[in-house]
Amino acid sequence: MSHAGHTVPAPAGFVPHTVAHHFESQEQEYQSAKLGFWLFLVTEILLFGGLFVAYFYYHTVHHDAFSIGGKQLSWKLGTTNTAVLLFSSFTMAMGVRSAQLSQKKAMLTYLVLTFLCACGFLVVKYFEYSAKIDHGLGAGSMFHPHDPQLLGYEGLSMFFALYWTMTGIHGFHVLCGMVVIAWLIWRGAKGELHAKHYMPVDIVGLYWHLVDLIWIFLFPLLYLVP
């Protein structure tokens, strides 16, 4: 009953899932999707890995400039965003769990909460970004610090180039996460996600935890510059 092309009976009130014809069983379909997604996450680790190598390299060379750079960022806003993302990782994990248990209402609630946390994160980021622009602390050619105390620190522009690149790519991931979470909410509302087919929730969950994972390292490196 879980063979290729077969429709797997769904719990009462849910839409049944049909196994794609090229899979032998639903388990094979699930495991293939999972393995494929883990591979994607590996490429994500290596993408951010390159940026982390760049960070540590220039942190070693321009230690004092990085220290000054970190002080220009608000550690309070950074901590707030860390808490928001950690909490959203929790709600996402709870959403996956609710899907596994066919608890539609709970799943939708947790997914909406995760989505709202992502919005909150980006709103805080917006205020941080505009403050940096206002102080002339942009990336590359947009780096013209208004505070004369910041002149003369070689490597400070490198700190801000890394700050913008790393948080920018991370923020883009948050935005993409919001799109796929919205997709889950839409499908979940239609009753397509349940104990017999929660793979999409599981996979988006993995993605969202990775976004959290990257931030766990970005936060101390940029806001607290050790």
Partner: protein, 164 residues
């Protein structure tokens, strides 16, 4: 189909391995984590975040970086093993994901072998070149401060021209 109910909430290791599930390999045969586990992990993550911020206010010299990264690594492994279910995932998935950190390690190893072999680079740039700008109150083109800035830029340019 009550396999899932057997793997219900609160049972940390609720593998619903009924004969039926094994015969047909349904999706619902996977591990379901208990709510207390997730709540516990979240609380630990919050405590570790507070710890990271707290520690950053003390000066331990070069050890600040090691402490911050050690705490981040603990947080990351909690997220990976519990939130991402790696503890209960298949061996092949675990190998694939964790191998990325191995390759990342190689990346760091060679980048830093290069950097540390060039000790002069680190030394040459380690000192900041602070300007005596304590009397500067305004900023903009035409002001004394701006001239000062231009001077600094020229100084930098000349330095580079000399092959510094």
């Amino acid at each position: 189909m009550t396999t899932l109910d057997a793997a219900a909430p609160g049972h940390g290791h609720g593998h619903g391995h009924s004969a039926h599930a094994e015969a047909h390999g349904h999706e619902h045969d996977h591990h379901v984590c208990g709510v207390p586990t997730f709540v516990g992990i979240l609380l630990i993550l919050f405590v570790l975040t507070v710890l990271t911020v707290g520690v950053s206010h003390f000066d331990f010299g070069r050890f600040n970086m090691w402490i911050a990264m050690a705490i981040a690594a603990v947080k990351a492994s909690l997220v990976i093993s519990v939130f991402m279910h790696v503890l209960w995932d298949t061996t092949i998935n675990r190998i694939f994901f964790l191998s990325s950190f191995l390759f990342l390690g190689l990346f760091f190893l060679f980048a830093f072998a290069d950097l540390l072999a060039r000790g002069d680079l680190v030394k040459a740039h380690a000192r900041p070149a602070p300007l005596d700008a304590s009397d500067i109150s305004e900023w903009g083109p035409g002001t004394k401060e701006h001239k000062f800035f231009e001077q600094f830029k020229n100084r930098e340019k000349n330095g580079k021209a000399k092959g510094h």
